[in-house]
Symmetry: C2
Subunit: 75 residues, 2 copies
């Protein structure tokens, strides 16, 4: 992988976030508020444009009430 290339994990995380939001009926705004993150940032993560950090993955997992590993589990 070149330094500038996006990893396929971004798409896995993005899909899982959308699914978990849908299961809960949460908007991006609601998730952002629950996780203490910026909505624009979260939107970029869900478009696989943002190379999210581990600490922010943890905030999202905590907001959803799931183990962080589930967020990057492949289907």
């Amino acid at each position: 992988m070149k330094r500038t290339e996006k990893s396929p994990l971004r798409d896995t995380l993005a899909r899982n976030m959308r699914l978990m939001r849908a299961e809960r009926g949460w908007s991006q705004e609601h998730l952002a508020a629950e996780a203490g993150l910026n909505r624009t940032y979260l939107s970029a993560v869900e478009r696989s444009e943002q190379n999210i950090s581990l600490d922010n993955i943890w905030k999202i997992a905590r907001a959803f009430g799931v183990p962080a590993s589930r967020l990057i589990d492949s289907p």
Copy 2:
């Protein structure tokens, strides 16, 4: 979690990396070469000092040949 506070996921990842290296008899230098990452950076990740990004988690998982979710699975 305050913006400056480290998430507990850093310790989980660090422990899993050390375990997976030990299972394979790999030094930090060897893992760094396999993953295409800097050894000093990997050392900081294993001391929970570095807030690693998702793309670099992917590089480490690929080097070990494991699903990335295993790297942040709790025991």
